[in-house]
């Protein structure tokens, strides 16, 4: 009781602040009646909000005691056999479910896979190497436009353009990284933010090449081993996929195919980044994140190590971009705004920096949840912000905090 009274003051204060904040958002609403505008007051909303905050604040110490015993779920440590079986089962499910699921669900899952790929790519830069990159979407745009432009100007197909999209994005990462990677922390973040914007503005303003704000449309979907997945072949006398298989044409095939491809690309990204942290370069990233001066004193060139992370991350963004262009069929600069960079960064932070499982789960959550909660779409950003705040308060290390695979002494050599 004594403690409750002690909390009375702060709780009252919090309630007043809540009332002040909530009033303009929920309490006052503009109503249009005919040509007239009038203010409508909804004081009950404000009262409720203030009351809830008041009670929560008042009971906070008690709640703290009560929740102390609640332990956040931790990943059970599994034996390698069980783990592999689990991974295999998940993969099997991921591959087979689109054949039973609805078209929309598969479409959203495809988008989720693109974000998994982007998240894993940025995870290399931010999570492994510790370089805060706010312009990641720039490389995504480079990848998307590489395919779009190659198709538009040279008629390249998706499969021809895919490796080049990755290579061009990687090259951009290398060239942009070269001058800026000597900066650290906040400065690097600001410069990369600028680069992201520059790339977007270039795309808007290089009208003659990129089609300006309208972008490039009519980009073909990927083919299956050279067979198109369309109703009619684009070339006279060509064979389409459904003719080859002797199936009735259905646009769902394309959706499923795109999903499987996105899944494959995401898996390849996962596999590569998984190998990377177990390689010397992965150890060098970790070491560099911990102590740059010590690294230099041992002959490790910080520049080269950072550049490798930056370039590799950009490459994955490039692959993702090319796939995005193929899926959408149209690219324009609108798709590559800063908010996209922020979203990808949010995925990495939410999942737990450097944690691959976390990034995958966060990417899926962030793309799927807004779709499930369509009714609340007006409040999407509000909920998003709230989740971020709560995460930072309760679990700043992310959903699945990273447990880096440490190199162990091989058992057999122990004497």
């Amino acid at each position: 009781m004594q403690r409750l009274l002690l909390n009375l003051g702060p709780a009252l204060m919090a309630a007043v602040i809540t009332a002040l904040v909530v009033t303009p958002i929920f309490g006052l609403q503009l109503q249009r009646v005919g040509g007239q505008m009038s203010l409508e007051y909804h004081w009950s909303y404000v009262l409720w909000a203030a009351l809830i905050v008041f009670v929560v604040q008042l009971l906070k110490p008690a709640l703290k005691v009560a929740t102390k015993s609640i332990v956040f779920p931790r990943l059970p440590s599994l034996s390698p056999g069980v783990r592999n079986a689990l991974i295999f089962a998940t993969l099997l499910m991921a591959v087979s479910w689109p054949f039973f699921a609805g078209r929309n669900a598969v479409d959203i899952a495809t988008l989720a896979m693109i974000y998994v790929m982007l998240g894993l790519g940025l995870n290399i830069v931010v999570g492994f190497a510790g370089l805060l990159d706010l312009g990641f979407v720039g490389f995504y745009a480079v990848g998307a436009y590489t395919y779009a432009l190659l198709f538009h100007w040279a008629g390249w197909s998706f499969w021809e353009a895919l490796p080049l999209a990755g290579a061009v994005a990687a090259m951009f990462g290398f060239v942009l990284g070269f001058p800026v990677l000597r900066l650290r922390g906040d400065y690097l973040a600001i410069v990369t933010l600028g680069f992201g914007e520059i790339i977007r503005l270039l795309l808007i303003n290089l009208n003659d090449w990129t089609g300006g704000p309208d972008g490039i449309s009519g980009i073909p979907k990927p083919t299956v081993m050279g067979f198109e997945m369309t109703r009619n072949a684009s070339v006279e006398g060509g064979t389409t996929f459904h003719q080859l298989m002797g199936w009735e044409f259905s646009s769902v095939h394309m959706v499923i195919f795109l999903y499987l491809m996105a899944l494959m690309l995401a898996m390849v990204t996962l596999w590569i980044s998984n190998r990377l942290i177990r390689m010397p370069i992965g150890r060098a990233w970790e070491a560099l994140r911990e102590d740059e001066i010590a690294c230099r004193s041992l002959g490790l060139s910080p520049m080269r190590i950072k550049l490798s992370a930056f370039t590799l991350g950009a490459m994955f963004a490039g692959f993702g971009g090319a796939f995005f262009a193929a899926r959408q069929g149209i690219v324009n600069p609108e798709s590559f705004t800063f908010i996209e960079s922020a979203l990808i960064l949010a995925i990495v932070v939410l999942g737990g920096m450097g944690s691959q499982l976390g990034v995958i789960v966060a990417a899926i959550l962030i793309t799927v949840l807004p779709e499930l909660a369509r009714e609340f779409s007006e409040y999407r950003m509000l909920i998003f912000g709230l989740v971020m705040i709560l995460m930072m308060v309760w679990r700043p290390q992310g959903l699945f905090p990273v447990t880096r695979p440490q190199v162990q002494v091989p058992q057999k050599t122990v004497t």
Partner: protein
């Protein structure tokens, strides 16, 4: 070396021959560590030069200097604290890696051989320093004396020509100091490195070094064998103050 208007270190002339153990001593703020930073490439000397086997290494940048075989430890140990002792040694061998990223991705035999060799060298140095049992322990959790030894091992694994130790005995107990003295000798005798030492502990300095340079206010005031330095009047004054 000049920082703005401050002349931090002036007319220091050191010569370290092969397999020699040379110590720099002097009161706090005499500029010993600044000399270290100039040699190891962390500072670019504003005038003067640093020669390694007749080749200038001044202003090359610290990682290039390290690659040429001049490596150092730090006054306040700089290990990768959240990596294991073993990993600290593996990272230090980064420059030896010849396998490409692709070879690593596909885990080719040559990549695996290289990793095995790196592991073997690391284990050798862990054994050498008596740290084998702590191999899988995070470096930040090791006892201070062990951290110091691990830092020296991390330098030695790069196979340097010159090993620079910045106050290696600071924070060690008397027994550990004796061990360190033996270790420094042993490293020189077995691995043929020249050793440049900054140290305040006179017992260690007098016991281990062959030549000593004394600095005060950024300038060298004496140079010679331990015997000569011990009896030098200016040195005695610098350390004990004017009588």
């Amino acid at each position: 070396m000049r920082f703005g208007g401050l002349l931090a270190v002036d007319s220091v002339n050191l010569e370290l021959s092969e397999k020699q153990i040379l110590a720099i001593i002097g009161p706090n703020g005499a500029g010993k560590t600044t000399v270290f930073n100039c040699i190891s490439g962390f500072y670019t000397p504003t005038s003067g030069n640093v020669l390694l086997q007749g080749q200038s290494i001044a202003g090359l940048g610290s990682h290039t200097v390290a690659r040429k075989g001049v490596v150092r430890t730090f006054q306040n140990v700089r290990l990768f604290k959240r990596m294991t002792a073993l990993e600290n040694l593996l990272v230090a061998q980064h420059q030896k890696n010849r396998a490409s990223v692709l070879a690593g991705l596909f885990n080719t035999p040559s990549f695996r051989r290289q990793e095995a060799e790196a592991m073997e060298r690391s284990l050798h140095w862990l054994d050498y320093m008596g740290l084998r049992e702590f191999a899988n322990r995070e470096a930040g959790n090791l006892a201070y004396g062990h951290q110091r030894r691990l830092e020296i091992a991390r330098c030695m694994i790069t196979e340097p020509k010159v090993l620079m130790l910045d106050e290696p005995a600071a924070g060690l107990n008397p027994q550990e100091k004796l061990d360190l003295q033996a270790l420094i000798r042993q490293l020189r005798d077995q691995y043929g490195v020249a050793i440049l030492l900054i140290e305040h502990d006179m017992g260690l300095v007098m016991g281990v070094s062959e030549r000593i340079t004394v600095m005060e206010y950024g300038k060298p005031i004496a140079h010679g064998t331990p015997e000569e330095v011990r009896n030098n009047e200016r040195v005695i004054k610098a350390y004990l103050g004017e009588a």
